[in-house]
Amino acid sequence: MNPFQFTRANTTQAAVSAVSKETGAYFLAGGTNLIDLVKREVIIPERLVDINRLPLATIEETASGIRIGAMAKNSAVADHPLIKKHFPLLSMALNAGASAQLRNMATVGGNMMQRTRCPYFYDHSMPCNKRSPVQSGPFKGQLNGPAGCGAIGGVNRMHAIFGTSEKCIAVHPSDMCIALAALDATVNVTGPKGNRSIPFAEFHRLPGDAPQKDNTLLPGELILSVDVPKNEMSKYSHYLKVRDRASYAFALVSVGVAADMKGKTIQDIRLAMGGVAHKPWRLAEAEVYLKGKEATLENFKQAATLAMQGAKGYGENDFKLTLAPNAIIEALQIATQTV
């Protein structure tokens, strides 16, 4: 690893101040992705600001839902009685990600901030528009590898089919974020200009012309917590993850479902997909279509057709155009217990 400075922050203000005042300073939470990126020189930091001492790991009930501290470990959230009771979808999604060791390290905030696992992003000899130029330090201004997108026309089996741009077709790798997007979470952040809340759907962004930006955080902003509003959908929830091996692999396609059922009728439903876009992909049209309808295979097929509108394959990932709708149908059947 390249050398860097290390600061241990004892207050959120001190952490924000340390990261704001220095280009090339990064918050260090669980480190499961950041340290890997530093080892691979995808990120060359001047300073890491350790935020593990900040009191941000609480999981508590609020008037309208559950507030999850940004520093709560993935394993602690997945196993927490409040989360299992109210949001089994979130528990399932968390447990579908990474390994038990990594979940003991990884935090909720860090999970949201993790970078794509696109192989071109990690490989300096390959073109990548997301691996942005080095911002500061002795390597300042260096491109950190050539610009362009190696995945378009290259090895793109894992890549996006929705919301791509000609600059980038990478996917967001998180499972947890698919559940949080489906559950209409809100992200509370603090920064140099004070506190604000960001709807989860607006936290991550599509690549467009600026694929180096994964999210809408402003420089120096720190995630404090995530609010998940209570709903009546805990009983009919499922997270279906399709991957190359049975465990410990990123999703080819994943589907998160939470529904409120009355008899066979879907009163309300939330649907989101992973492994298909640069951000958690909410299936709004399919949700509207299914609301008030019976939980039948025919209706699920129609919902999947609606959800797949606008999907585009890039060669090696064309199979996702078939896999994704099938996964939607299967997840709906399992969640609504109509298999």
Binding site: P3, G31, D36, A100, Q101
Partner: protein, 210 residues
Amino acid sequence: MENENNAGEPESTGASRRAFLKQSSALAAFALTPPAAVHAVERGLDEKVAVAFEQQPLRVEINGVAQQLSVEPRVTLLDLLREQLNLTGTKKGCDHGQCGACTVHVDGQRVNSCLTLALTTEGSKVTTIEGLGSVDKLHPMQEAFIKHDGFQCGYCTPGQIMSAVACINEGHANSPDEVREYMSGNICRCGAYANIVEAIMEVKSKGGRI
């Protein structure tokens, strides 16, 4: 300053290591004859001085022994254990959090020591395979791995055993399927998985925390 290096307060070590290296190299180039300067660089002298310059104090308990150490920020817990403390039971496999060979316990939780910066373990209790049992008195999980032949080459074994102990203590060893899922972060290229699961299920069947 104590071990805490508070953000927002003036830094005790102002100059960066690279700035120091630049300065010392310039001085060396100026003061020494070229062959001597070359020798100094070859022997890594200014590198060694710079390393000492950037070290930060670390207090951590490792296998029950309180340690007061000086550590560079970029040193991982894995490298600290192996290179500085000579605890080579913890293995470096992929060094990227993908294989689990480096698994240790920090405050009772299993983690990948290759992705843990040593300085983030300040005030923690670390347990490695060396702290689990001894040659005279093996840990029940170590005995079970031997009994069930839970390894061939043995390289992944320390990580497997540390992970297996945590798997039971977390309450995630209630069936062979659950063990397979919660042990998936430990790769065994010899393919001793079936025997590893048997070893864990046997220890689990005896009940209690281990």
